[in-house]
């Protein structure tokens, strides 16, 4: 196993905020280091780092010490009064205290769930001491109800769902759920039936029937915003129905809908079957928007904290692995089988690699068609809530920032990312741009108006 963290006993390395040590002046990247020899792997390294950080908070001092006496001497000296070897082992055994090893995680068969799914065949759950069963589920309402009933320990959800459930929108009473990590960014598209090839301007779409996967979905909010920006009233001028993703292509073929803003692989599947074409990728609407989330009930975090953290680390690690463009083909092969997505491999591959047929006779190359980034930005949650307010799903004013902090567990995700050596953003809110308009987390109010008035 390659050493995941740079050796803190290396005099030239500095402990960076990203959780790795690096040579001053170098960007965050892996340094060639000998792997830990006592079998404690990265947990041992985390222990070493923590102790060294505690003893020498100042990087310069630590480097000075290392240069003066050498790593071996320093290690021996520290070991004399602090059992560093024992600490390495103690932390490595952290998975041993996992309260519940056998977990069930529900997923919807779409590429958004890639990290949740691929972590099973590719062994990420096992590596973190968990025995996880991933169970394909028939629809969002079912996955929500089964998660509420605790049939699933954790579930793949659309990122607005835990917010809506916690706020009591669309459920009988508020049920505290949390977004432990975001699964994917981008990766959705508007697909239209082939007969609309000439109607590429949304202003011509009056009377269209659209499908979105669920009322509480990024798909619904993005489609509504896209239509509204083109002067189409999403409530009066078109019909927007909630249709489970797998049924979208069948409905498009049956001419039951004119198009959908749906998750992949069903956009690509429509092209594969000659039923529709990809009008626009959602990346063009908001580059880096969140889509699906890894959701857990609040009670799981308090009842079984070690299980939760091990699971989160497994998911974050799987997300990082999926993000790497070099791994995308391998991931596509792992998840397209009967047991997971049950789709032709070429369809999944086109989605993940971003080299795809658009249904209009062109091969497009968009490597960031879908991204995998676990960090649950609070500003994303805030935007989602403004849209719930905007389209009448939420009928009262809430403190967006506060709810976002409660539901989107940025701190836990950041800790897991740091422990795995991934780069962690310094803040949890940032402004971003949707179709040329800026969302400012300090002033979310304009986004709650049906027709947005931002300066």
């Amino acid at each position: 196993m390659a050493r995941r963290f740079a050796n803190p006993f290396d005099a030239d390395a500095s402990l960076c905020g990203c959780g790795r040590t690096h040579v001053p002046g170098l960007a965050c990247e892996d340094l060639p280091n000998a792997p830990a020899q006592d079998g404690t792997h990265e947990y041992g390294e985390i222990a070493e780092q923590a102790v060294l950080r505690a003893l020498y908070p100042d990087d310069a001092t630590r480097r000075g010490m290392l240069r003066a006496v050498g790593a071996g001497t320093l290690f021996a000296a520290i070991n004399a009064f602090f059992p560093l070897g024992a600490a390495r082992e103690a932390l490595a055994q952290a998975p041993g205290t996992i309260e519940k090893r056998d977990l069930k995680i529900g997923f919807i068969p779409i590429t958004c769930a890639t990290p949740i799914i691929m972590a099973h065949p590719m062994g990420f759950y096992q590596r973190h001491g968990l025995n996880v069963e991933v169970i394909r589920t028939a629809g969002w309402a079912v996955i929500r109800d089964r998660a509420i009933a605790r049939e699933y320990d954790a579930a793949h959800m659309l990122s607005p769902m835990p917010l809506a459930m916690s706020l009591g929108a669309g459920v009988a009473q508020p049920i505290p759920f949390a977004v432990a990590a975001i699964e994917n960014t981008n990766g959705q598209a508007i697909t239209l039936a082939n007969k609309h090839r000439e109607k590429r301007n949304p202003r011509d779409w009056k009377g269209f029937r659209f499908a979105v996967p669920f009322d509480y979905s990024m798909h619904n909010y993005l489609l509504r915003h896209y239509l509204a920006e083109h002067g189409i009233d999403p409530d009066r001028d078109v019909q927007i129905r909630s249709v489970p993703p797998p049924e979208m292509v069948a409905n498009l073929r049956a001419d039951n809908i004119d198009g959908y803003l749906g998750p992949d692989p069903f956009n690509q599947r429509a092209v594969f079957d000659g039923v529709g074409f990809i009008h626009i990728l959602t990346k063009e609407l908001w580059d880096g928007h969140p889509c699906c989330a890894f959701a857990v009930p609040r009670s799981m975090i308090t009842d079984t904290p070690n299980t939760f953290h091990a699971l989160l680390r497994a998911i974050v690690e799987a997300t990082g692995y999926s993000q790497n463009a070099a791994n995308r083909r391998e991931v596509a092969a792992a998840i397209s089988g009967q047991n997971y997505l049950n789709q032709p491999q070429t369809v999944v591959e086109q989605v993940l690699t971003g080299t795809f047929a658009d249904g209009l006779g062109r091969v497009q190359r968009v490597p960031d068609r879908i991204g995998f980034d676990p960090f649950p930005w609070h500003s994303m949650a805030m935007w989602i809530m403004t849209q719930m307010r905007r389209w009448g799903q939420l009928n009262r004013d809430v403190d967006y920032r506060q709810v976002a902090e409660q539901v989107f567990l940025a701190t836990d995700a950041a800790n897991a990312m740091r422990a795995l050596g991934q780069a962690v953003p310094a803040t949890t809110v940032q402004s971003f741009t949707l179709m040329g308009r800026t969302f400012d987390p300090a002033n979310p109010a304009p986004w709650t108006e049906r027709g947005i008035r931002t300066s």
Partner: protein, 283 residues
């Protein structure tokens, strides 16, 4: 003798009709389908399905394709390759187990209750409005309620089977019991048989054929409902398998599922038909 000849001729005609139907299907699927559109860029065409690469849409599967797929499925019906990928035999077994549980539960409730309703005109009149309102409700309408209250998807589907198959049995039992001949009840009374003994020795045998008819209707409904219920909640079962193949837009698998569901339904019906013949009586 003449009836056997008719049977043989009917079977021959059935086969001829089937062959003609399949032949026409195969022929039309072969000749249709491909659109014969303009030649596409080979790199682009490689990313599409076979039909789309020729400028058409993926067509309806041919009988020969379906037969090949059926052979593939039936050859190894009991494999388990993870929670989401199990053989067709296992899926059918799951569905049958759920149907059996829901149906037996319904029988255990409907038959005694039907007896009470049949024997008491007052109870019959009092319960009638409830029965009439609940009876026509679609199984799928019960599902969200069941999932919310029971909080277990497998028990929820059993409950939905129960609630849908209980009514025909209840109404038939009540009808059979209430239409027991007055003369027979009077004979029982003159012989000073108690209420329980009358119910057991006179009413039950008299009503048995009607009750069995109710059960036969119910098992048909239960088998209809399980497919819908499993499509909705997912997990295991033949209904979920149909949903899953729909998700993959694999029409060949769906045709196979329709065939299998039909055959199993036929077998279930025949089973109760045999039972019904055992309790039948003629005057």
């Amino acid at each position: 003798m003449s009836s056997r000849v008719t049977n043989a001729r009917a079977a021959l005609l059935s086969l001829a009709l089937l062959a003609a139907f399949l032949g026409a299907w195969e022929f039309s699927a072969r000749s249709g389908g491909s659109g014969g559109g303009a030649a596409l860029d080979p790199e682009y065409a490689a990313l599409l399905g076979a039909a789309a690469a020729q400028g058409g849409q993926t067509g309806f599967p041919m009988p020969s394709e379906i037969a090949a797929r059926l052979w593939e499925l039936v050859r190894d019906p009991f494999y388990i390759a993870g929670p989401n990928d199990q053989g067709i035999g296992i899926q059918l077994a799951y569905s049958l187990a759920r149907v059996a549980a829901g149906f037996l539960l319904a029988a255990a409730v409907a038959i005694p209750l039907g007896f009470l309703i049949g024997m008491s005109p007052l109870l019959s009149a009092a319960l009638n409005p409830f029965i009439q309102v609940l009876r026509p409700v679609s199984p799928l309408a019960w599902m969200p309620l069941a999932l919310y209250t029971i909080k277990d998807s497998s028990i929820s589907s059993i409950f939905v089977i129960f609630i849908c198959s209980v009514w025909p049995m209840l109404l038939n039992t009540a009808f059979g019991v209430s239409s027991t001949r007055k003369e027979w009840l009077n004979v029982a009374r003159t012989l000073e048989a108690g209420r329980l003994k009358t119910a057991w020795k006179v009413i039950l045998p008299a009503a048995a054929p009607t009750i069995l008819t109710g059960m036969r209707i119910s098992i048909g409904i239960a088998w209809l409902v399980i497919v819908a219920a499993e499509m909705l909640v997912g997990g295991t079962g033949i209904g979920y398998w149909v949903w899953n193949q729909w998700n993959n837009l694999s029409l060949a698998d769906i045709v196979i599922a329709i065939l299998l569901i039909g055959i199993v339904g036929l077998l279930l019906d025949r089973l109760l038909g045999v039972l019904a013949r055992a309790v039948a009586w003629a005057e």
